[in-house]
């Protein structure tokens, strides 16, 4: 896969990162180099290997259905730049 300036622009926007126009070309080159390096893995023959979601072999731990948390509005809002009557307050977002 090749990473060009447009790809950088697109993924920066999706990640809400402000990447200035003059740096996009350079970052495209860096990302391309990283991807090429990772692509070396494709030399390994994986034709008969099932895709793996975890290497530990553990199974997903389950929790019992009990209320054990909550009622800590002050903690939750502690770092909020703005709050009012228990709500987070953010710039208006209406689609």
């Amino acid at each position: 896969m090749s990473v060009d300036k447009d790809t950088v622009k697109k993924i920066a926007r999706l990640a809400r990162l402000d990447v200035p126009e003059e740096r996009q070309e350079q970052i495209a080159g860096e990302l391309q180099a990283i991807l090429s390096w990772i692509e070396e893995l494709s030399e390994v023959d994986t034709a008969n290997v099932e895709p793996l979601a975890s290497v530990t072999g553990h199974s997903l731990p389950l929790r019992v259905d009990k209320v054990t948390d909550g009622n800590k509005v002050d903690d939750i809002l502690a770092n909020a730049p703005e709050q009012a009557s228990g709500f987070f307050v953010v710039p208006k977002v209406v689609e």
Partner: protein, 483 residues
């Protein structure tokens, strides 16, 4: 029945698929220990996990897994013993993680089916494509401040089942029947309370139109519809709009639309250029979910009898009409009430009394079956008194009205008011003699051939008996006397 819609230039076929978000009934959230209770104060039901504080890790709630499997089994669906949680990435103010934990490639439930029944009695199999578990987002309030939005994360992290249908629905009526039936099944199973007003059940509808026999048209998705009526309105509006655009030579954009409940119309929500690119990938904080066949079998063993099965039994064993059986099985509580009231009695008569008198009275009083002043046992006892001839059906209606009003029992009311049916032939003959004596002229007319007057004599006799004479005996004795 044809579902085609005729436009200016010919017929169109409507194709609808639905994605229903059903809130899982559980005490705690999908990946945290905070409460799912509706109506708590802002941000009270929030843990550091739900607020996505750095370093917090999700641990799955086994009850939510149990509920999803149970729902799958209730929809006769395949249960996937191996499923994976993925991150669906997007930014929104009420999504603190910056992604929703959902299931993409490997959902917990696969293909199933739901049978809908329409007003004309026809039934249709609607395919279920999949059900996956995912987190709900928080809630944004946009009307509290002119330039700010208020965010409440109480719903953030609550478990949802997204139930995705195949595009098998062909009309707004079918879509309405689908959501009603799905809600009924979820409530029988106890896996979702089905409360659409509180947002426990909401639907996204995918609508497209095509010329009969052609391939699928481009669809639009109308989001977040929280009542049966809105679902049907949104579909009707979209169908009309799409046909208009296509017949004018335009084309439909694949887009997300919002339904305006005040106007009954839909409008574009976000432009295609801004369309979301979710970049799904397996959540590295969660291992794959692996179930054993024994776990699934144990849930299968505890499944309640579902409405389709109860209905079939009511039709075949009790002789009820398909319509009555549908009405009596829509809610689990109604079916249980009916079973209790009709057990060991005239099943059809009890069904009639429930669907006409009891439902009528409840409706009028604005009550639900749960707060009915007449219990299943006392309705049953009333029907017994009709069946054994103690009171007539006519008198029974008055007795029922009094039972509903005061909560008293039928035998007490009948005893107190002396409403027992008169089946003593001597007494009835006396009444008949009185009626005939007072209406000599009509008796003459009847005898000279005016047969229709027979009903008049029956009516008069019943009237002076205060409705208490046994109608069958009145008929028989009158016939003899008028010979």
């Amino acid at each position: 029945m044809s579902n085609l819609v005729s436009g200016q230039t010919g017929d169109w076929e409507v194709v609808i698929g639905m994605e229903v978000h059903a809130q899982v009934t559980s005490q705690a959230k999908l990946f945290s220990g905070s409460s799912t209770t509706f109506g708590a104060g802002p941000n009270e039901n929030v843990s550091l996990v739900d607020a996505a504080m750095p370093g917090m890790l999700p641990v799955i709630n086994e009850a939510c897994v149990h509920q999803a499997v149970k729902t799958g089994l209730g929809l006769k669906a395949d249960i996937n013993l191996y499923s994976v949680f993925d991150r669906k990435n997007y930014f929104y103010a009420d999504l603190p993680q910056g992604y929703q934990i959902s299931q993409f490639k490997h959902p917990i439930v696969g293909e199933g089916v739901l049978v809908i029944e329409l007003a004309d009695g026809s039934t249709h199999d609607i395919g279920i494509e999949r059900i996956h578990l995912e987190q709900d987002a928080g809630k944004s309030l946009h009307d509290q401040h002119p330039s700010k939005s208020y965010i409440d994360l109480n719903r953030s992290g609550v478990a949802l089942m997204e139930i995705v249908s195949h595009p098998d629905l062909r009309s707004a009526e079918q879509a309405g029947a689908y959501i009603k039936k799905l809600r009924s099944i979820l409530r029988y199973l106890g896996t979702c309370d089905g409360n659409m007003e509180e947002g426990s059940l909401r639907a996204d509808v995918n609508v497209s139109v095509r010329r009969p026999g052609e391939g699928l048209g481009t669809r639009t998705e109308t989001k977040n519809l929280n009542s049966v009526r809105f679902i049907m309105q949104a579909i009707d509006y979209e169908v009309e709009r799409q046909i208009e655009v296509l017949e004018a030579g335009g084309s439909i954009d694949q887009e997300t639309r919002l339904f305006d409940t005040s106007t009954g119309t839909t409008r574009q929500m976000r432009s295609k250029e801004d369309a979301h690119d979710y970049r799904y990938f397996p959540d590295p904080d969660l291992l794959p979910l692996q179930l054993t066949a024994a776990f699934v079998d144990a849930i299968k063993a505890e499944l309640p009898e579902l409405p389709d099965d109860i209905k079939a039994r009511m039709v075949s064993d009790y002789g009820l009409s398909s319509y009555d059986a549908s009405v009596l099985t829509e809610e689990r509580e109604t079916a249980s009430f009916y079973e209790a009231a009709s057990n060991g009695r005239d099943r059809k008569l009890v069904a009639n009394w429930m669907t006409s008198e009891l439902f009528g009275a409840l409706n009028k009083a604005g009550k639900t079956l749960a707060d009915s002043p007449v219990s299943p046992a006392s309705l049953g006892a009333l029907v017994d008194l009709i069946s054994d001839g103690t009171i007539s059906g006519r008198i029974a209606k008055d007795v029922f009205a009094e039972m509903f009003e005061t909560g008293r029992l039928a035998p007490d009311i009948i005893e107190e008011k002396g409403l027992k049916q008169v089946s003593d032939s001597g007494a009835i003959e006396g009444l008949i003699d009185q009626v005939l004596a007072e209406n000599q002229d009509k008796v003459e007319e009847y005898r000279s051939g005016k047969d229709k007057l027979f009903g008049f004599f029956v009516g008069q006799t019943m009237k002076i008996s205060g409705g208490q004479a046994n109608p069958a005996m009145v008929n028989q004795l009158l016939k003899e006397k008028l010979k």
